[in-house]
């Protein structure tokens, strides 16, 4: 308005005048601090790489070691067909039941956590605490502790361990889904005189159900990969069989590797199955924007087209029906499909119960209470704080070193896997598939590394974690680049910018924030994974955790160590939240 009234200033004086009138940019204290923190973390990662003796010579040493092992072992072999079916059934059964248990436990936790449904602030706090703590306590530690009260090889510790640990992630995502749901239907139920519980089950639950199922299936895939490691804690199934096989050298190695291959194939097959289920049952995939999400979105598009067909049918004159006739719900294709999937899920759970061979008589009830009590009070045992802190530092170093390696490689892989950055669709698809393969193996690679490279050092651990990290981070980076609105990029292109200029002018600034938070998410995951790594034979805090969790009198140390992991994870999460706000 004012500009219109003002006469335009003379052209020669314009530039000086504008410079004088322009507002001075505020010094971005928070951004500089944020970059400083990021820089410090990168330096820490580099330092960790060098202090963990991460050199080519040590890697070559490990590779030599692996080669020798490979040359001395028996040829790869598989268990007899019947045994194999039994083992697969048991593993799948444990994972299904564990994941289901976690899903059920997560409903009240998520209800407490989500802003829209939480009845009181203290309950939100409680829910978040449960979520963070269960996420931070490694499932392997839980399994080892629970194994005290059960026979070795029993499925129950595994089910409980997965069931409790998975609550952390599932409840978080459940709560996110609630917070993303529309508040309107809840208000409508409230206005009709509904209670809080009625509001939840009538208005919230139907809205979030698709997202919840997607979350549970996603966690199922993760838990299946984890189950191999649970075998090392004495949980029955393929992982346990693999551990037994690898205990004999060299004759067991061929068998062990054979079982590892079975686990890998099982993971890939069930990942395909679970994404197919998601597609059929939901028609939406709020969680993923990768290849799966793409397929699913294609399905969603079909569905909306279907919906528009209904819309056009609306104008047809209504057939004469009576209220009584309509009391019977017609068997439409949708209903048949939903009912089939519903009963299929029930059948799967029933079968899992049978496959997993759950036998409550295996529980030594007299040990349960002492076992729970043994975790309190926390203690340092014969060690002191300095020892544990040093171990924690090693674990953090492994996590950061691995994250840094992953970051560098995933930036390349992820960028080339992003539609709007990759030079051609062929390149994009190649790198997408590569990332899927990387992601499909992490814990397994880890396990094989442990066994192949005798006396697993932290370097091998870093490589194993970095390998899996590329799969995860690369995908997240590719997704975040693809989420950059196309219009923005097109706008930059119309100015005559080159491909690189476009990347740095539009794609990078938008993707940077996601990059920072995803990298920190990787550090967070890595800290937990590095802990587990220690449990199965590496160093760091996991070493002490293993020692302590197998002996009941040392359980106080488990509490201390877990508390240290929780605090570390919380600090990383805090930094991540802060950085996300700074680079908003």
């Amino acid at each position: 308005m004012t500009i219109l009234k003002d006469a335009p200033p003379p052209a020669d004086a314009a530039s000086a005048d504008v410079a004088a009138r322009a507002p001075r940019p505020r010094f971005p204290v928070d951004k500089v601090a944020g970059l400083g923190v990021i820089g410090a973390m990168i330096v820490f990662g580099l330092h960790a790489l060098s202090s963990l003796d991460f050199s080519w010579s040590s890697i070559r040493g490990s590779i030599d070691n692996a080669t020798t092992t490979f040359s001395r072992m028996d040829p790869i072999s598989f268990p007899a067909f019947g045994d194999l079916v039994y083992l697969i059934g048991m593993t799948v059964g444990i994972v299904v039941l564990g994941t289901l248990l976690a899903a059920l436990l997560s409903i009240p936790v998520a209800w407490c956590m989500a802003v829209d449904t939480s009845p009181a602030p203290w309950l939100r706090w409680l829910g978040r605490t449960i979520s963070v703590v269960t996420r931070a306590v490694p499932d392997v530690v839980l399994a080892m502790a629970f194994a005290m009260a059960f026979a070795l090889g029993s499925p129950i510790p595994g089910i409980l361990a997965l069931g409790i640990h998975s609550v952390g992630m599932i409840s978080k995502l459940f709560a996110d889904a609630i917070e993303q749901s529309d508040d309107g239907p809840r208000r409508a139920v409230r206005a009709a005189g509904g209670s809080r519980a009625q509001e939840f089950w009538s208005a919230t639950f139907p809205q979030v159900l698709p997202a919840w199922i997607a979350t549970v299936l996603h966690r199922f895939d993760i838990n299946l990969r984890v189950s191999a490691i649970l075998g090392y804690a004495g949980v029955g199934g393929l992982g346990y069989a693999m551990r037994i096989a690898f205990q004999q050298f060299p004759e067991g190695y061929g068998r062990g590797l054979g079982i590892a291959i079975v686990i890998f194939v099982l993971c890939v097959v069930l990942e395909v199955v679970s994404s197919t289920i998601r597609r059929h049952l939901l028609g939406t995939d709020p969680a993923g924007r990768g290849i799966g999400g793409r397929i699913v979105r294609a399905a969603t598009r079909d569905r909306s087209r279907e919906a528009s067909v209904h819309e056009s049918a609306i104008t047809e004159p209504a057939r004469a029906v009576t209220v009584d006739q309509m009391l019977k719900r017609p068997w439409t294709t949708t209903r048949v499909r939903n009912v089939t999937w519903g009963w299929g899920a029930v059948a799967l759970v029933g079968a899992s119960w049978w496959w997993a061979d759950v036998d409550f008589s295996q529980i030594h009830w007299e040990y349960v209470l002492p076992m729970v009590q043994s975790f309190w009070p926390p203690s340092f045992g014969s060690y002191d704080f300095a020892v544990f802190a040093q171990a924690m530092l090693v674990t953090i170093q492994v996590a950061f070193a691995a994250a840094l390696l992953s970051l560098v490689l995933s930036l390349i892989f992820g960028a080339l896997a992003a539609r709007n950055v990759a030079p051609s669709p062929g390149v994009r698809n190649f790198f997408r598939v590569t990332l899927v393969v990387f992601r499909g193996v992490p814990e397994l690679v880890l396990a094989i590394f442990l066994i192949m490279i005798t006396g697993l050092g932290n370097q091998a651990g870093v490589v194993a974690l970095a390998f899996g990290g590329i799969g995860l981070l690369g995908k997240l980076i590719a997704d975040s680049f693809e989420e950059v609105p196309r219009g923005v990029e097109r706008a930059v292109t119309t100015t005559g910018a080159t491909r690189n200029q476009r990347f740095f002018a539009s794609t990078w600034p938008v993707g940077f924030r996601a990059l920072v938070s995803n990298s920190l998410y990787l550090v967070d995951t890595n800290i937990r994974a590095a802990t587990i790594l220690g449990i199965v034979g590496g160093g760091g805090i996991g070493f002490y955790l293993t020692q302590a969790s197998t002996v009941m009198s040392l359980h106080g140390q488990v509490t201390t160590l877990v508390a240290m992991v929780v605090v570390t994870v919380l600090v990383v999460e805090g930094v991540s939240t802060w950085l996300r706000r700074v680079f908003r």
Binding site: D182, A191, Q198
Partner: protein, 283 residues
């Protein structure tokens, strides 16, 4: 309850509502008699929706009090409030149906206030209620759609489902918050006619917020005008002149000129009297 014909169904006295900094309602008083069909007319931000939400206790007044069906709303406990809400139905601008549920199940949620405990799935509702819900759907002309997902229906149809859900409460009072603001003119007319018919047939008291002057004038028994949270007009429809209606929209900030211009075109054919023309504001 003292539901004698003479005592008002709704009486709002000296209600002021503040949200931290902003004042949504200022010293609002009004009464609504049984069977009256009242429109709250005003621009967005004038406080219509806030006032409406006070009537079923979705908001509590900062000052003043609200009485509905003989109950003092701000003083009610959770249980009594729910009992009151059972008899005061509400429909919304965005319909607020659960998109993934069937139409029938959405209608059945209207009965939740009468039922104990949470319900999930059609079969968790008694057969009698299911029959009743189908009858309500028949009444709004959507019996055929009973087993379709709510989000497969057009906007006008969704609002009619919402009306069926409101009817499920067998209400005494119907509150309608901008019921046709998201609908095209044809669906709007259909929905407004439906509300009027149902109000007449069931003897409902209706309070409906609107911003479209033309709809309000042809439809309501009585129009209450709100501006910046204050009642600036309260008159029976037959006494109402266009001049009075335009008073509601006077004294606007220049920022509201666009709104006013939109209103102006809405009132095409109505002679503008007064000084609130777009030209005078810009000057």
């Amino acid at each position: 309850m003292n539901s004698t014909t003479t005592s008002p169904v709704i009486s709002v006295s000296k209600v002021t509502k503040r949200f931290s900094q902003t004042r949504a309602l200022h010293d609002v008083s009004l009464t609504v008699n049984p069977g009256e069909v009242v429109v709250l007319l005003g621009l967005s931000g004038s406080g219509k929706s806030t006032l409406l939400r006070h009537l079923n206790g979705l908001e509590r007044p900062t000052e003043g009090t609200v009485e509905v069906l003989g109950q003092t709303v701000p003083e009610l406990g959770q249980k009594e409030l729910r009992a009151l809400r059972c008899r005061v139905a509400m429909i919304f601008q965005q319909f607020e149906l659960v998109p993934s549920l069937t139409v029938l199940e959405n209608v059945l949620t209207g009965a939740l206030g009468r039922l104990r405990g949470p319900r999930l799935g059609l079969w968790s509702y008694p057969r009698a209620l299911r029959l009743d819900a189908l009858a309500k759907l028949d009444r709004v002309g959507l019996l055929e759609k009973a087993y379709q997902r709510a989000d497969e229906l057009s906007g006008g149809q969704q609002q009619r489902v919402a009306i069926a859900r409101a009817l499920m409460q067998n209400p005494h009072v119907l509150l309608a918050d901008e019921p046709v603001a998201s609908l095209d003119p044809e669906s709007s007319a259909q929905v407004m006619r439906l509300i009027r018919e149902i109000a007449a047939a069931d003897g409902l008291t209706v309070v409906c917020s609107l911003h479209q002057v033309d709809i309000a004038l042809g439809w309501a028994d009585r129009v209450i005008g709100l501006r910046s949270g204050e009642v600036v007009l309260d008159t029976r429809n037959e006494h109402l002149s266009k001049t009075q209606v335009m008073e509601i929209y006077r004294g606007l900030d220049p920022a509201d000129v666009a709104d006013l211009a939109a209103l102006d075109s809405e009132l095409a054919g109505v002679q503008l009297v007064g000084t609130a023309g777009p030209g005078s504001v810009v000057a």
